[in-house]
């Protein structure tokens, strides 16, 4: 085989593009259509988003200019980011966001997949809950119906993913268990939660669930929604994990049994490390879905990132600039989900190149 070219120069890169775009008459026609479309859209987008855009000022300035009204975002970004969390206390959700991002960053590195990671998350969740609620250490108490924006989205989705994952592992193992009772129970659980839409789960958590509690006991609405998200997500994750478990040859289990490993040792040391590696793409897909689905908590009156954006738009003076508002919210969602899928690809490569040893 001829040696691959050492580096593709800029010119050659363009040449390759040309070859791909105009490989055949059909290709050429499609390429021309697309390029023509782009030529029409992009300049007007730039004109709207940059040239005629208003970066500071009031609604009147925006209307006069006719471009994008980024001044709206400047005016309302704290409302979009933090909802109606008390203004002078917003350093607390900011700190919580930083804490979450730091923990996610640490967990992203397979080198740190050790037992202490569990304790880091446990204490991290407690610390951020204390930060958000307050009521101790001189922090004024902030009821969670005033939480909102990005911190709420991050808390609901991260806690949803982190806490549903262990449950999902148990369910997936249960569904493949040789004990009939355990197997039926796992199947019933998974099929039930997959059979109902998340919106109705959240309604149930918000409206129905309190009816089942004994009198005098009430569980906070946020916690109920969080619980609903965890139980719901676990069912989907469990099916992803099961897919991985089924792909592992039965000989792996035989070898572990023959060596005298117990059931849990076998699963933890031999089967799951291989099974989970196979299902990284669907797992991350489910994480992304969960992240975006937290916006449904609006139906029970919690103000996640999307709802706080809507709230910012309810100001009659700025109501006209909803495109800008939603673009910002979309950009934030995209940033997080894009990072997740990039991470998924990184992880697959990394685990493949190390032979999977982590």
């Amino acid at each position: 085989m001829p040696a691959p070219p050492k580096a593709i120069g800029l010119n050659q890169g363009w040449l390759n593009w040309g070859r791909h775009l105009f490989a055949s008459p059909g290709h050429a026609l499609l390429s021309l259509l697309i390029l023509g479309g782009l030529a029409k859209i992009v300049p007007s987008l730039i004109e709207w988003g940059l040239v005629k855009a208003v970066w500071s000022g009031g609604p009147a300035d925006c209307r006069a200019a006719g471009g994008a009204c980024w001044a709206f975002v400047g005016e309302k970004f704290r409302l979009i980011l933090f909802g109606i969390y008390p203004h002078d206390q917003q350093w607390r959700p900011s700190l919580a966001i930083v804490l979450f991002l730091a923990m996610l960053l640490v967990s992203a590195n397979p080198k740190f997949w050790r037992r202490w990671l569990f304790w880091m998350w446990a204490s991290g969740l407690v610390v951020s809950a204390l930060l958000m609620w307050g009521g101790i250490a001189g922090l004024p108490f902030v009821a969670d119906d005033r939480w909102g924006g990005l911190p709420l989205t991050l808390i609901l989705s991260t806690a949803g993913i982190v806490l549903s994952f262990p449950l999902a592992l148990l369910l997936a193992l249960g569904r493949r268990s040789s004990l009939p009772a355990l197997r039926s129970l796992s199947i019933a659980y998974i099929e039930f939660w997959r059979g109902v839409p998340l919106v109705s789960v959240l309604f149930m958590a918000s409206v129905m669930f309190p009816l089942f509690l004994p009198e005098g006991i009430s569980i906070d609405k946020l916690l109920r929604a969080q619980l609903g998200i965890i139980l719901f997500t676990a069912a989907y994750l469990a099916e992803n994990v099961r897919g991985g478990l089924q792909a592992i040859p039965v000989g792996q289990s035989d070898a572990a049994d023959a060596l005298g490993l117990g059931y849990w040792q076998k699963m933890r040391l031999v089967i799951l490390p291989q099974a989970l590696r196979l299902v990284i793409p669907p797992l991350v897909g489910q994480f992304i879905t969960t992240f975006k689905d937290t916006s449904l908590v609006v139906v029970i009156g919690l103000y996640d990132l999307l709802s706080s954006t809507k709230m910012a738009l309810s100001d009659p003076q700025w109501r006209a600039f909803y495109v800008e508002g939603y673009l910002v919210a979309a950009a934030i969602y995209f940033l997080f989900t894009h990072l997740m899928s990039r991470y998924s690809r990184y992880l697959e490569r990394r685990l493949a190149s190390s032979g999977g040893s982590v």
Binding site: P249, G251, Q252, D254, A255, A256, D257, A258, L259, G260, L261, G262, Q265, L269, V270, P273, Q274, R277, G355, G356, S357
Partner: protein, 255 residues
């Protein structure tokens, strides 16, 4: 069979009495009785589907038998955890498909069970693992992953992995059937050495040369039954049963 009277119970490594097993309606093991003395080398031969793999998989309870009794070094497999666990610690097993753990390095494959089952320290386990890797002549591959080794090398690692648990009995389930011809010898050599060291061995194999050289006893199975059992010279030279004769002529014809 009335072998109990011939051999004192204390010398028995494995004792199978009237073992029966069904897969649904399919009767895979029919009244199998077999005693294996400590240090004895038994080769089980027979056509595919004759139940020989199922039989040795019952000995460390990878398969459950439904009737009869299986006793290993005095521990009877009753189905409770304790007896299964005890037997699996005494019995090592080597599989046709090697079944190394692909996500672990060769060294980690060997140390996994000593560290987690026997709670051995990391350093001691590594030392033990390296000594067995040297015995199967593959110590230089300690830090490779299974996928980087040839089939013969993988099977030798699998043997070393079993030995790291210091079993007193080794089961081999067609250990060379998945190997390319040029790799069969390197695995058989390791098995011959193991036999020379006095290990109790039960091998399901089609390698009749190995059986002749190493086995004390050859067992011929067909349709879930033991048809004939004898010293290799007798069984190969003077088979008593028609089915044995037919089988032998077939594998020697293809040998």
């Amino acid at each position: 069979m009335s072998e109990n009277s011939v051999t004192a119970q204390g010398d028995l490594a494995i004792s199978l009495q009237g073992v029966n097993k069904w897969y649904g309606a399919h009767h895979v093991l029919r009244d199998v009785s077999l005693n294996v003395r400590k240090g004895e080398r038994v080769v089980i031969a027979g056509p595919s589907g004759s139940g020989k793999s199922t039989l040795i998989r019952c000995i460390n309870r990878l398969e459950e038998h439904q009737a009869g009794s299986i006793t290993v070094n005095g521990t009877t497999l009753t189905g409770d955890h304790a007896s299964t666990e005890a037997v699996r610690q005494m019995v090592g097993m080597v599989f046709q498909q090697f079944n190394l753990f692909p996500h672990l390095s060769v060294l980690e494959n060997l140390t996994l069970a000593p560290c987690w089952v026997k709670k051995m320290g990391r350093a001691a386990a590594n030392e033990l693992a390296l000594s067995y890797l040297e015995r199967v002549k593959i110590a230089e591959k300690a830090h490779k992953f299974p996928a980087q080794l040839s089939g013969g090398q993988q099977q030798r690692v699998a043997i070393a992995r079993s030995l790291c648990m210091r079993p007193s009995i080794m089961l081999f389930d067609e250990p060379t059937s998945a190997l390319d011809p040029e790799m069969i010898k390197e695995v058989l050599d390791v098995m011959v050495e193991l036999a020379a060291d006095g290990m109790t061995m039960v091998c399901v194999t089609h390698e009749m040369g190995f059986a002749r050289k190493v086995a004390d006893t050859v067992v011929f199975m067909d349709e879930g039954q033991i048809i004939e059992k004898n010293a290799p010279a007798e069984l190969f030279g003077n088979p008593k049963e028609e089915r044995t004769r037919k089988f032998l002529s077939q594998i020697i014809g293809h040998g």
